[in-house]
């Protein structure tokens, strides 16, 4: 098969612990150097926490696997310093076509909503993503240990004990905190005897990555029941390097080993392309999937993230995308607990908030799966009726569900939110993932989401910086001195200085004020993971402090 990608081989280095047979105590160990484990380790370094990342392999994801990275994941990748490379290499698509049997039912053009830094999604092979994150992790000072396999784990009151196997033998470690990112089969979850429950889908899918020899439109094509693959679904979309992902539903009876053979795969693709377009196979795999999650993602000092904690069907790209949001949610909470600035109860809210998000992801991906692969004759009849009506009627198009692309959960039920006391319009409710907006910072064009994150921020909206009087400036400045620091910022329609050197973001197009339904005097308290914690129509420092206490379980 053709290879457009050279797999890096990361060097195994004999750990020092083997030589002196000591048991080192480390603040954080992350297990699993996939996209989510790498993000978790980088996140720790951004908080100055020493971190050891163990992986039993010495390269990146073999085969592409994950493909679609949605806007929220790209924003998190921006915050941890990988966004530009991922977006630079990844490809965007806007046009999607939906086919039913032998005809196109409709097409859509997802022109990105203006005034956001990142698009709705980019497509990129997983190995590139991991490679970029490895580079970033090294630069950030993560102690990356390849071919270090955890073979036993035990939980203790104030630490987790690990036994690690290397090519040179075994060593032991003690971690104050263990972040488990070892994937869907999670050996550590098994070692700890923890359950994960949900639904297995009785279906198999073939994925083929092919290199097209000629031009082919950068569009997403989805077929229901096409003539070249009757009774099943097929998805085609583009990745970097002219590699295309083709996903064939096979049905439960299919023999995975047989289906993977090039002599079986190539005719399928030829029938689909319908002409003599030349292509070469790069990678083929057959997969099944489950929708399930652990009851809790925190077990004492062991914290589960990504596929180890929850799994969804691939429809809607809610796997790695939700894993990034786990580390986004966990990172700041763990840092506050480790610094003694918040009680351990804050980590239970990691589990609560991300379990709610996992349920939403499982719900959406299960619904997509049930639409794409109907399980009964009546379900198939409704599905086909929706598709038949979709050609002419907008209501039916909205019901066509070939995957609801990953979007972040609104954590509206979280105990960390301070409920609104003042009336607001729009979606930026307490618990909402922040909307982006273009802003000017010190004369340079930028984005709101690049200016916040990694700390609590108080955004004070004003018409004019001159309207921010001494008393307000002093009160904003005081917020930085609380037990948990809050960085103040003024978001103003016009440029100008504010007393006390408080940074001013100029909302030159008025987009921020509109998206946040802000008026002069409006205050938003936002979390380090760029979610809204509280908001008011005026600044009352006591209320802001109470909301910070609430958002950190210090109330």
């Amino acid at each position: 098969m053709l290879q457009t990608y050279q797999y890096p081989k990361f060097e195994y280095v004999k750990p020092a612990e083997l030589a002196d047979a000591t048991t080192r105590r480390v603040p954080v160990v992350v297990v699993g150097a996939g996209p989510v484990g790498l993000a978790a380790a980088i996140e720790c370094r951004l908080k100055d926490i020493p971190v050891l990342l163990l992986d039993d392999d010495d390269t990146v994801s073999v085969g592409s696997r994950g493909v679609c990275y949605a806007k929220r994941a790209l924003e998190i990748l921006d915050r941890i310093g990988c966004g530009d490379r991922v977006c630079g290499k990844g490809v965007s698509w806007n046009v999607g076509r939906t086919f039913f049997r032998d005809r196109e039912v409709y097409s859509f053009n997802l022109v990105p909503e203006p005034d956001h830094k990142r698009p709705g999604m980019v497509n990129l092979q997983q190995y590139y993503l991991e490679e970029y994150e490895v580079t970033r992790a090294r630069q950030a000072g993560v102690d990356l240990r390849w071919r270090n396999k955890v073979v036993s784990v035990s939980r203790h009151e104030d630490h987790v004990a690990l036994k690690v196997e290397t090519p040179d033998g075994f060593y032991t470690l003690e971690a104050d905190w263990l972040i488990v990112a070892d994937g869907a089969r999670s050996p550590i979850r098994h070692m700890l005897g923890l359950d994960i429950e949900g639904r297995i889908f009785m279906d198999r899918f073939l994925i083929a990555d092919v290199v097209m020899k000629a031009d082919f439109p950068a569009e997403r094509w989805f077929w229901f029941d096409p003539p070249f693959h009757p009774g099943q679904s097929v998805l085609l979309h583009k990745q970097a390097d002219n590699v295309w992902r083709i996903d064939f539903q096979l049905g439960w009876q299919a023999d995975p080993e047989e289906e993977k053979k090039p002599e079986k795969v190539i005719p399928r693709i030829k029938a689909m392309l319908g002409d003599d377009r030349e292509f070469e196979l790069e990678w083929v795999s057959v997969y099944t999937f489950q929708c399930r999650r652990m009851g809790r993602f925190r077990h004492g000092r062991v914290l589960f993230v990504g596929d180890a904690a929850h799994q969804v069907s691939p429809f809607g790209a809610r796997g790695a995308n939700s894993g990034y949001q786990d580390t986004d949610n966990l990172g700041w909470k763990l840092a506050l607990v480790m610094a003694g600035q918040a009680p351990e109860a804050l980590l239970d809210t990691y589990s609560d908030e991300r379990a709610q998000a996992a349920d939403e992801n499982i719900l959406n991906s299960t619904r997509s799966t049930d639409f794409i692969t109907p399980k009964s004759p009546v379900s198939l009849a409704f599905r086909n009726a929706v598709l038949a009506l979709a050609q002419d009627h907008p209501f039916a198009r909205k019901l066509v569900n070939s995957g609801r692309l990953s979007v972040p959960a609104f954590l509206t039920g979280s105990v960390l939110n301070t409920p609104d006391a003042d009336p607001f319009a729009g979606d930026m409710v307490p618990g909402a993932p922040m909307d982006d907006a273009p802003v000017i910072d010190n004369g340079a064009d930028g984005w709101l989401l690049d200016k916040v994150g990694n700390a609590f921020h108080a955004l004070y909206f004003a018409e004019d910086p001159a309207a921010v009087d001494q008393a307000i400036a002093a009160a904003l400045g005081d917020l930085a001195l609380g037990p948990v620091a809050v960085k103040p910022m003024v978001v103003s329609s016009r440029p100008g200085p504010v007393a006390g050197g408080i940074p001013v973001l100029v909302d030159s197009k008025g987009v921020a004020a509109k998206r946040y339904d802000a008026r002069p005097g409006t205050v938003y308290l936002v979390r380090p993971d760029q979610h809204v914690a509280a908001r008011w129509r005026g600044l009352d420092p006591a209320k802001v402090k109470a909301a910070v206490a609430r958002a950190t379980c210090n109330a």
């Binding site: 959406n364 619904r367 049930d370 639409f371 009964s376 004759p377 009546v378 379900s379 409704f382 929706v386 038949a388 009506l389 009627h393 907008p394 209501f395 909205k398 019901l399 569900n401 609801r404 979007v407 609104f410 979606d427 909402a432």
Partner: protein, 74 residues
């Protein structure tokens, strides 16, 4: 009022942050209504559903339009 062919699902009192959610809520409920039924039972359930909803709509000009669209291409 003519037959509404634009997306129109909602649940009073429920807040939606994603435009596909109310339609997906409806569709799941529809499929769930048929769970574990035989084909004959499902056909009966569908017939009853059409009768109930038709009576609720009441306006025969609307129903006539819907029936014509449903029958076209059958």
């Amino acid at each position: 009022m003519p037959l509404n062919l634009n997306p129109n699902f909602f649940e009073p009192g429920k807040r939606y942050f994603r435009d596909f959610s109310p339609g997906d809520d409806f569709y799941e409920m529809l499929i769930e209504t048929h769970r574990d039924l035989t084909e004959a039972q499902s056909a009966q359930v569908n017939a009853k559903l059409i009768l109930l909803l038709s009576n609720h709509i009441g306006d025969i000009t609307v129903l006539r339009e819907a029936m014509a669209i449903a029958r076209a291409g059958a």
